[in-house]
């Protein structure tokens, strides 16, 4: 890493090294090839200034030294190394040191909500425990959290990079991870209470990297990536750390926090460095469009941006159209939109819409969809706001996948019928790390993965209509209803097993987390207090607004086995007058309207 200075320059876009994006046996081979060129990673701070440059060559050299230091700690091959995945060169160094040392890197979340010190420490601790980590490291900014999280855990070592740099180098031979060994563990955006670590082998990762580069993005030497996505999510980790490395591209980073504070910095970096590929979940584009000033747009040239991937949630075209409209003066072209579909369980990518075509939208009959899950296209003359639904074409499955849309009984469904999306192929995970039960819930013995997502096919193209059945996705954050329910059940006045959480669409077209809780409390002041406490707990732990519905005991619908039925609770809730009335208030989600 170069020292901070005014004259620091980002690594060049690849000019000399022949592009190679297949035939690597492991991530180390991919790094060593990239290290023959001049490209690498560049890190921009919250003011949009370049503060660190890490070329692939420097990364190789530094990772080898660090690997020898780690090996001196005496851990077994395959030991887990938890790395707090702040967007900082330390993450890349430790990730690759693990590759050389034969350890498994585990990326840990780095975002901390206001007032959520304790909740974050607990989350780190649970993840380190679940993966049985031997080593844990965080940047200086997270040192206190990590040291609190690892108290009494008996790890071989936990600390900041400086502590590890002071270790002696072992003279043991470096034996990089081989094709069938794990490349990394990645916690899915799944339940925070029962985190599941997706295990991806080197072979699986490299297959997906090569298909993304060749089929999805059609990467060329002149490409350059720009990203603010968190490195503890698949899109950031795989899409913008591993894909560029395995295609020898330079990449420019902003941290998610810098982006959230000043979204325009994303465009500034794209403009200055002539970035060609950058992705975001829809909310990122929406945030940008909302906070940009017209004058900002005049200053930027985004004409080089040829691939703007959109994924990670069900895609709503409206905010994207707004973004493209606002950014017209910059030369941004709506044809750059590329809808894609994927998940950590498949390394990253499953399908990509064709490049250069923009968003393709299927407009279908709303009634038929609701009644029979049938996506019948509506002729232009019959389309109206009340009778139609829009779904974005997420393109063809990457060639290595087999796929099928199945009903709940596992029977395959024909074209244009909605069901669960199942896939099978070489980039699918080995399983959830040391959790055969959770793995068996989603994977069949013959290797088919139940993605949990709902969609339909038209030929070989996939349309995703709902992400993982129960998951609540708000502003790009996946929240598991079980976690919300668990939180609420710990509030005095609310009983265990008597809360149901789900997302409800508001009139503004957004999703709002709703918790319906049974309570015996009748005193209005006390009810109000319970509601306040629940909202505060949800806010502190998840950083989102929620709507709380307190109902009398016995109101929540149950299945024949006595389990709460979330879907029925949601249907009942949506039909209630109180929800309708609440939405009439301007700030229905705020405390006063919810009292």
């Amino acid at each position: 890493m170069s020292a901070e200075s005014m004259s620091m320059k980002p690594t060049e876009t690849n000019r000399c090294l022949p592009l190679k994006n297949q035939g690597f046996d492991n991530l180390v081979e991919a790094l060593e090839y990239a290290a023959e060129g001049e490209t690498g990673y560049n890190f921009y701070n919250g003011r949009g200034e370049l503060y660190a440059v890490l070329s692939y060559r420097e990364l190789r050299d530094e990772a080898q030294v660090l690997a020898r230091r780690l090996l001196g700690l005496g851990c077994e091959r395959g030991a887990r190394v938890g790395i707090v995945a702040e967007t900082h060169p330390m993450f890349h160094r430790f990730f690759y040191a693990c590759q050389y040392a034969g350890f498994i890197p585990v990326s840990l979340p780095s975002s901390v909500q206001i007032g959520a010190h304790k909740a974050y420490v607990e989350q780190l601790r649970r993840m380190l425990e679940t993966c049985g980590a031997d080593i844990a490291v965080s940047p200086e900014s997270h040192a206190t959290f990590l040291s609190e999280a690892t108290v009494g855990m008996g790890l071989k070592m936990a600390g900041v990079p400086e502590d590890f740099d002071a270790l002696p180098e072992s003279d043991a031979e470096l034996r990089p991870m081989t094709a069938d060994e794990p490349a990394y563990l990645q916690y899915t955006s799944g339940s925070t209470r029962f985190p599941r670590g997706v295990e991806i082998t080197q072979k699986a990762a490299l297959k997906n990297l090569s298909e993304i580069a060749q089929e999805g993005l059609k990467i060329g030497r002149e490409d350059r990536m720009v990203s603010w996505l968190p490195l503890y999510h698949d899109m950031g980790l795989v899409g913008f750390m591993l894909v560029p490395l395995a295609s020898q591209l330079s990449t420019d980073y902003l941290s998610p926090r810098s982006f959230a504070m000043r979204p325009r910095l994303w465009l500034k970096v794209l403009s200055e460095n002539r970035g060609t590929i950058s992705s975001s979940p829809p909310f990122g584009y929406a945030l940008c469009a909302k906070r940009l000033r017209w004058a900002d747009c005049q200053a930027y040239d985004l004409s080089a941006w040829r691939v703007a991937c959109v994924g990670a949630e069900r895609i709503n075209p409206e905010p994207l159209e707004r973004f493209a409209e606002v950014l017209k003066p910059t030369g941004f072209s709506p044809e750059a939109w590329v809808a894609c579909y994927g998940m950590a369980e498949c390394t990253l990518a499953i399908s990509f819409a064709p490049l250069g075509g923009g968003l393709e939208i299927d407009i279908v009959d709303k009634e038929l969809m609701a009644e029979r899950g049938e996506a019948r296209p509506l002729p232009a003359s019959e389309r109206g706001a009340m009778n139609s639904l829009c779904f974005v074409d997420c393109g063809e499955f990457l060639p290595s996948y087999s796929y099928s849309i199945r009903d709940d009984a596992g029977e395959p469904l024909p074209d244009r019928r909605c069901g669960r999306i199942w896939v099978k192929g070489p980039s699918v995970m080995t399983g959830y790390f040391e959790d055969p039960e959770a793995t068996a819930e989603v994977m069949s013995a013959n290797g088919w993965l139940d993605t949990g997502d709902i969609g339909y096919c038209v030929g070989s193209r996939v349309f995703v209509t709902a992400r993982s059945k129960d998951v609540i996705i708000i502003k790009g954050r996946n929240i598991w209803p079980q976690d919300l329910e668990h939180l609420a059940e710990h509030i005095p006045g609310v009983r265990y097993g008597h809360v149901s959480a789900f997302a409800a669409p508001t009139r503004a077209g957004e999703e709002l987390a709703v918790l319906v809780a049974e309570s015996r409390e009748k005193n209005p002041a006390k009810c109000r207090q319970i509601i306040e406490e629940m909202k505060a707990a949800v806010q502190t732990h998840f950083g989102i607004n929620s709507y709380i519905d307190l109902v009398p005991s016995g109101t929540l619908p149950r299945t024949s086995s006595g389990k709460l039925s979330r879907s029925q609770t949601k249907r009942d809730f949506l039909a209630r007058e109180s929800w309708d009335a609440a939405q009439d208030g301007d700030r229905f989600a705020s405390a006063e309207a919810n009292g």
């Binding site: 206001i114 010190h117 900014s141 959290f145 504070m261 502003k475 406490e533 806010q539 502190t540 989102i544």
Partner: protein, 82 residues
């Protein structure tokens, strides 16, 4: 010291009033989360404005221990002093 903190608190309230419902009373004990219902992105936007106004950088650790306007004023006062 108290007056310095009070002044900062007043400024924080001014900055905040731009982004929250005007019917909410902003007091020293007002909780960002349970009283104002700020979402994480709104919090970051507000923190950015505070940072720009006072020309300081508030680290994540300090922020993780802040619940109320008064507590944030204390953090800011410490940073401004340096």
């Amino acid at each position: 010291m108290a007056t310095q903190e009070e002044k900062i608190e007043e400024t924080l309230r001014e900055i905040l009033s731009g982004s929250v419902d005007s019917s909410v009373d902003l007091a020293s004990s007002t909780n960002f989360v349970s009283d104002l219902g700020l979402e994480s992105i709104q919090v970051l936007e507000f923190v950015m404005e505070v940072e720009e106004h006072f020309d300081i950088a508030i680290d994540m650790e300090s922020l993780s221990d802040v619940l109320t306007i008064g507590q944030l004023a204390k953090v800011v006062a410490e940073l401004v002093k340096d």
